[in-house]
């Protein structure tokens, strides 16, 4: 089963993601950007789902993604943002920042699965 790292500050939303994907993926949760980078250093993941607003964490989702993409060890990982920033212009904004895909919250399981499979190749 492929392993997905989900960076999300809200525990309920983290739980929702784990439960929605549990039949197909092993979802590991990180509550903030700093933890995410530490975990990436130790473990191998197949894909990253990234919230943007990471609450009390020092880095937000965009900064964390930049760190991941600029580290040669993790640069090849696909990073998909799953965010509540869902105004019409937000999608373009995040894709321009460097995310590989954009999924607005509230998430729909079908769209979620379709997008993840597409980026897992």
């Amino acid at each position: 089963m492929k392993k997905i790292l989900y960076v999300e500050d809200d525990p309920i939303n983290a739980l929702v993601m784990q439960k929605l994907l549990k039949s197909e993926f092993n979802v590991v949760h990180s509550p903030d950007g700093e933890t995410c980078l530490v975990m990436l250093d130790k473990e191998k993941f197949d894909l990253i789902l990234m919230d943007i607003n990471l609450g009390k964490g020092k880095m937000n989702g965009v900064e964390t993604m930049h760190h991941i993409k600029s580290n040669p060890k993790t640069a090849g990982l696909k990073v998909i943002t799953v965010t509540s920033y869902a105004l019409p212009e937000d999608k373009d904004r995040f894709l321009r920042e460097g995310f590989d895909a954009y999924i607005p919250k509230p998430v729909d399981r079908q769209i979620l699965l379709k997008t993840i499979h597409q980026y897992l190749g």
Partner: protein, 438 residues
Amino acid sequence: MNFFREYFIGDLLRSEPDVLKQASIRLIYNIVSTSVYALIVFFLIYLWKGFHYQLIKNVVIIFLFVGILFYIKAQKSIVLVCHLLLFISWLNNNINIYLFDDFNFFIALLTVSNIIFAFHTLGNKAGIFYSIAHFIPIMFHSLGKYSGIHFGARQPQQLALMEVITTLVLVFFIIVYLIYHYHQAFELAKVSIRRSVEELKTAKELAEEMNRLKTNFLSNMSHEIRTPINGILGLSQVIGMETDNDEIKNYVRLQQQSGNRLLNTITSILDLSRIEAQSSQLKLKVIDLNNLVRESMLSLEGMAKSKRLQFLFKPSSEKLECLSDETMLYQVLNNVVGNAIKFTDKGEVVITTIKKHDSRVSIVVKDTGIGISEEFMPRIFNSFEQESTGRSRSHEGSGLGLAISKKYIELLGGEILIESKKDQGSTFEIVLPAYKGQ
């Protein structure tokens, strides 16, 4: 002197807010009162010299001028007095010209002074009227003189030094006074315009700042609403997955429906309140209308199929382009086409793209649905309005779609035209200015 001034024009000055008009009032008072003092002196001199024509003129004018001061005090208005003064001065000029055939430098100066005075105290129309009234007799006299016609051969009865100097001083005073006050008013106006411009600039900056705050607030609002809705709808999907109980699965489906409806309403309200802020940040690019329609149809195909409708596109054979904001236009198109499908239960929804003759392009969405009644038509673009509201409401929706669409299309420089007959279907036409190319 101050006692007389306070007595005659004190109240009037205090009731007049306009600086320029105050100046006019003071000027009139000064002219009339100085004239009265001077005329009293002249009266004695004329009497002594035995100039009977001037004496009669003098006595009449003294009474007139004293009467004028009382009139100003009683009526609190100088308009009639100004006309009267101008008329007297005009008459005086013409008496000199036509009775004594004496058109001299002072008459000319008085004429100039009268014209400035008329413009200043009575406004442009009266100014032009008095200009003409002063010009014509002088012109006529001059023409006559050079044609050998003499008007009035009486010997001029002038007090050479006395009258000349008084007239000179008075007329110069009037001219300088008027021009000085006009210039001062002009300087004041310049300062106040500069101040207004600065105030406007500050107000504009404030408005822009408020708009930025509003945009931020709405964006945060949207974020804070979506996060818990993700929890609610996400967990509801999880429950649906984990249960085998059909009843519960059905409840979950209904819960999802309600949740999505709530989400749509909130999104629409946010869109509607963001329109002002968005007007300053339109992202214009060249859009291929036929492609846009195809894209939009892709996302609505499922809905049309589930209602067993024919869902057709008849693209224009030409490539149609317009310079527009893609996100907005897409949203409008989705709204209009979505409505067509929503309000049509059998038959078809047909989309055509047309190049119009007036360098505009349009997308026409025609359906065979329930149509729009004549009574509802004027309110169709209002927020939160649906034709069947209340308990009989048969179609879901917040009633915001068309309100947003109309505002978006207006921002994009186009319009939405509607034709419809109740129970026979509707035609919505989205008209946009065509892109003219490089």
